[in-house]
Amino acid sequence: MDAAVQPLSSAETVVRIEGLWSVFGKGSEAFAVHQDLDLTVRKGEMLALVGGSGTGKTVLLRQMLGLMHPARGSVTVLGRSAELMGGEGAASRVGMLFQHGALFSAFNVLDNIAFALNEQGTLPPDLVRDAAMVKLQMVGLKPEHATRMPADLSGGMIKRVALARALIMDPPLLLLDEPTAGLDPNGADEFCALVRELHAALGLTMVMVTHDLDTLFALATRVAVLADKKVIVTDVPSKVAQFDHPFVHDFFQGERGRRAMADLPTAAEEH
């Protein structure tokens, strides 16, 4: 598998995780979700994290965002320690699409999108408004949606607004937690197309957690499988599907897996 990733290894590294231990609880109740986990994310790729529930996929995203701190090991994002991630200007370094959107329910759509720009307190309001309107339409929403409140949005629209909010300061790295969860198949396909469009247009590096094989094959250029508290394999989707491990076998060779794999050639052509 190392040979397969060789051609890419010269590319710039965006996220580097080395010997990571993520531990919950204290003393005798402590248990590790990750043990000696290594992972690198290269510039411009769409890395999918897959794994059974409880294998710490979301925890890994939270580590990259600096929302959790490593018990041991290091997480480096864009050349600096992830623990410094949450400081000033974080929105221009990394964007996060939370699973349920995490929109600020007290603000309307436009204010949600413009939040990070407004918080800087420097740019004139009309420039901020224009910039937010551009992002709003880039994610496929219409100008008249700008004044709606999050409570009045459908699930698909919430995801789009959350995506626009994550991208307002054009961060080079975008993390997505279950981007298509809770969307109907049609909505999920549209959202995948949107993410792929943005990936191409903005040259983003993306890391996503997903359970959905259709999403995985539609988007991912590389797949990292989490099992046994480590990343057991990282490779292009078609090769990962052949990897010999009980989880990989169940995940890709199950009924849903085979259905999604039928589309695989089109997804693989992109590399």
């Binding site: 221009s92 420097t122 740019l123």
Partner: protein, 374 residues
């Protein structure tokens, strides 16, 4: 100024003046106050004629906010002479395509203000109606409770009794005790002038037992439990738990409102007695220290000074206060809309309304029962 700060160089070319944006034109850099002020000064100093040429190829970084800034500076039109690389062109085209005209702010009109006042009044009436419905529903639920007491949510009642009643004891005792001490000291200064020290028992007895004890307890409980009730029920609205209950055919009134109202109606008189006792203890201590009125005399004189009617009045007042606080808390909780803003507003409104109502009802009691207990 560092190399990556956004700025504009100028160059004189044979065909005219050319603006050369340099540095990083990103949201983070533009959002830094010093850099923004420097750049907007440079932008303002550029000649505003359309013949100015632009060459963006020297930029280290351009993002959508930077592109928006350029586009707005150009008056949302392409300059006649523009040099840029394909990536920048794509970004500017996106910005150009998606820039929309801001809707004009709504003009101030008297009619709108009148409308708004009307809406406010209707809102108030609606609240009153809902509260009335809630009271009526509670009476019906109480009948149901009397008819089938075994099916009532007794576990809830006991849980609320503990949380709203038992856990409120320390704070009410502390506040009551201190008020008693303060009151006794202030009174002692006045009474000593008339040599009427012994009347401290009457003053403390009547004021604390009849008025201050129940009021203090009710205000503390309104702040403590009224807000908790609203927040609990409001969060249930936000997380759709209320809808889940309704779908299962479990009425909110019987399952949520009644246990809380019942628990507070039971707990409130007890807390009120407890607060009164703490206040009397404080007053007794202060009277002893300040005027040498012994506790033995205090105990002896108190029953003669305070008629039995005062006790019944205080207890029945407290029952009404408790029920009111619970009902107002539930009222605001049930009307929370599924967002955080509304939850905060509901909790604030609940505490303010219940404290106001407690004071109003207390005044009504004072007027209606002015002949009782003397």
């Amino acid at each position: 100024m560092s190399d990556s700060s956004p700025r504009i160089d100028r160059a004189d070319t044979p065909t005219g003046l050319c603006a050369l944006p340099r540095g990083r034109w990103g949201a983070a850099e533009l959002g830094t106050r010093a850099q923004w002020l420097a750049l907007s000064a440079q932008l303002g100093a550029l000649p505003a004629d359309a013949g100015l040429a632009w060459d963006l190829r020297g930029l280290q970084w351009l993002d959508h906010v930077g592109a928006q800034l350029l586009w707005n500076h150009w008056g949302q039109a392409w300059p006649q002479r523009l040099e840029l690389d394909p990536g920048q062109r794509a970004m500017l085209e996106r910005v150009a395509g998606f820039t929309t005209v801001a809707p004009p702010p709504e003009p101030w009109r008297l009619a709108d203000q009148v409308d708004r006042l009307g809406v406010l009044v209707l809102h108030g009436l609606d609240h009153a109606r809902h509260l009335l419905v809630l009271v009526g529903q509670m009476l019906l639920d109480s009948l149901r409770l009397v008819r089938a007491p075994r099916r009532a949510p007794w576990r809830d009642v006991s849980g609320h009794l503990y949380r709203m009643g038992a856990t409120a004891l320390p704070i009410t005792a502390l506040v009551g005790f201190l008020i008693g001490v303060v009151l006794a000291y202030l009174m002692s200064l006045q009474l000593r002038q008339f040599g009427a020290e012994a009347f401290i028992v009457n003053i403390l007895g009547i004021s604390l037992i009849r008025e201050l004890g129940p009021m203090l307890a009710a205000i503390l409980v309104a702040g403590r439990s009224g807000s908790a009730i609203t927040a609990q029920i409001g969060v249930m609205r936000v997380t759709e738990e209320l809808d889940a209950m309704r779908v299962m055919g479990i009425p909110h009134g019987f399952r949520l409102v009644l246990p809380r109202a019942l628990a507070l109606a039971l707990a409130m008189p007890l807390i009120s007695v407890w607060t009164t006792l703490a206040a009397l203890a404080g007053g007794m201590l202060a009277a002893d220290l300040a005027m040498g009125i012994s506790p033995a005399y205090f105990f002896h004189a108190l029953p003669a000074a305070v008629g039995f009617g005062n006790l019944t009045l205080a207890l029945s007042k407290s029952v009404v206060f408790g029920t009111l606080i619970a009902l107002i808390g539930c009222h605001w909780g049930l009307r929370v809309k599924p967002n955080t803003q509304s939850l905060g507003e509901g909790t604030t409104a609940s505490v303010v309304t219940s404290i106001t109502m407690v004071i109003i009802v207390d005044a009504l009691f004072a007027v209606a029962f002015k002949n009782v207990g003397f």
